[in-house]
Symmetry: C2
Subunit: 333 residues, 2 copies
């Protein structure tokens, strides 16, 4: 079924209010979950919503909480998220990074004690909508083995980079695992092989078979040893700057994922360059890359973020696709 954006948002808002959020927080929270769904990131929107409600009920997510500043110098600050709703705390702190960027050209805010921020790309789009380059990442619970290891001791720590552009922002949002757990499940249910290797089978070989990967849960980092290294460094920078948990620390919390560390950076390119030159450089590059010779005759080369914009437009027009059972569960909450 497809649910109109406003209907989905108002359901979310109703439930957030029933779970103790005041109207302002509920409105913002509902907007963030509806926006993620509308952009096609259902795993961190409508499909995740029931688990978020569960986390509120368990007391991991505290309603109506705002982040507060711990300290800082100039363009660099750290904030405590006090276990508020991940997406609202992250949005507040990206707004602060954007403020800092307007004053210092660049702003960097590290957060400790935040919950899962859902779709990391949201804060990239947020920065770009404010005319800033956005760079941000979060750590996670341990969910992937380091390169050369069997057991899961590093996170998949998504990294986001966004560039504002009049004809459409350019946004990359990439976890450090080649696939999410959800994507591997999805292929297994369809009885299909993954398009590219996603993990190790029970013989220790690199595999495209989702059922085999599920037996080991040895997920493959992007770029093999490279993504493993990048994951470690992203985690440690977020913890060192925020003073919050490392992935190792989050692993000790008993299996649930909360009290994460995040970094949000905003840079205002117009402090260095005039908008006209910037738009020209971006448009020419996008045009050059998109006019590559495609692999298949009718193939198209997309720039990062291009398809999210298509999906958003389509979902706003035709409603947001949602599994009947998921929607039934939400509406009966």
């Amino acid at each position: 079924m497809r649910i109109p954006y406003e209907e989905m948002k108002s359901e979310f808002k109703r439930i957030f209010m029933e779970k103790g959020f005041n109207e302002e927080s509920a409105e913002q929270a509902a907007t963030s979950f509806a926006d993620n769904s509308c952009d096609g990131v259902y795993s961190h929107g409508v499909n995740r919503f029931p688990r978020v409600v569960q986390y509120i009920e368990k007391g991991y997510i505290k309603p109506n909480v705002k982040a507060t500043k711990i300290g800082g110098l100039g363009a660099l600050e750290n904030w405590d998220g006090h276990l508020g709703l991940g997406s609202l705390i992250a949005k507040q702190c990206m707004d602060r990074a954007i403020d800092l960027a307007s004053q210092y050209g660049i702003g960097c805010v590290a957060i400790k004690n935040n919950n899962h921020w859902m779709r990391g790309g949201a804060y990239g789009w947020q920065a770009a909508n404010a005319g800033c380059i956005g760079i941000c990442w979060t750590n996670t619970q341990p969910n992937m083995p380091a390169w050369g290891a069997m057991d899961r001791r590093i996170g998949n720590n998504p990294l986001i980079m966004a560039i504002p552009r009049q004809k459409g922002h350019i946004v990359v949002d990439m976890a450090m695992s080649q696939y999410s757990y959800g994507k591997i499940e999805e292929y297994k249910l369809k009885n299909k092989d993954l398009p590219v290797p996603g993990g190790f089978d029970s013989n220790g070989a690199i595999s495209t078979d989702p059922a085999e990967i599920e037996k080991t849960w040895r997920m493959l980092p992007v770029g093999f040893w490279k993504g493993s290294s990048l994951s470690i460094v992203l985690d440690l920078i977020s913890a060192v700057l925020s003073g919050g948990n490392t992935t190792a620390d989050v692993g000790k919390l008993g299996g649930d994922e909360y009290a994460l560390s995040q970094v949000l950076i905003a840079i205002d390119p117009t402090k260095l360059n005039d908008s006209e030159n910037i738009e020209k450089a971006l448009d020419e590059s996008i045009e050059y890359i998109k006019s590559s010779l495609p692999v298949s005759e009718d193939g198209e080369i997309y720039y990062p973020g291009e398809r999210a914009a298509f999906t958003r437009e389509d979902n706003l027009k035709h409603g947001i696709p949602v599994d009947d059972e998921v929607w039934r569960q939400i509406t009966s909450t």
Copy 2:
């Protein structure tokens, strides 16, 4: 053969001076090439030296040039590298980013018109040696197809992140292609398959056969579509901030690689957290990751940068390994 560090450095210095560098610049330039070699990055040290000499002779690399500031606000600046020696210009600008970080907590310097900076990791180590987190990247000439494309229109744009640590800095230095051209050549000469897929064969299938990949030069980005996207965004941020060339622009220069754009960020974590807490978090995490269950019985899990430190120690003790012919060519320059 193995050449003592000081001997290698003094050969480099002699040649830089013969090619028009004054003593101070020659000393710094020779140090950077000897250091890269000593750390085991021969491809961007001793093995690259003959090509650097060629670029000086062609006039692409200008001796004795320093970067100059174009503009900026607060913690954000852009500089013109005036086609100086890539590694000296980048070092100068990372020094400036570190200065800005001491004043504003974070500093970001974008450079235009710089030459190839050789080993990007060097500027990560430089920041870490100054007690700062270092984040930096460069664009390159087009050398990899975008995801879905046949022809090479994006760069392999190395990304570096470094964290200072008393017991050994943590440094990742990763190009956006799974392998360098040099590494693929190396496996081909040894008649060996790559350990993991590195490109496409002539049938368009993902391959570990270096000879097949050489036929197409369709290099594989790290994480397939993910590294392709990250490469595009890194390129565009560097160009937009510096006001310099995009990868697309560099591709129009006629085949040689010069006039690149780079971003250097330094962050001082001690402005937010005390050193003792930082070292504790880092050591505990490294210990946790290193004590993973290894894949092979005698396997070891390394943290990013750990092996560069081993190599450095070994090469300082026993001399830097260099191909006889390469060394003959250099000493007869």
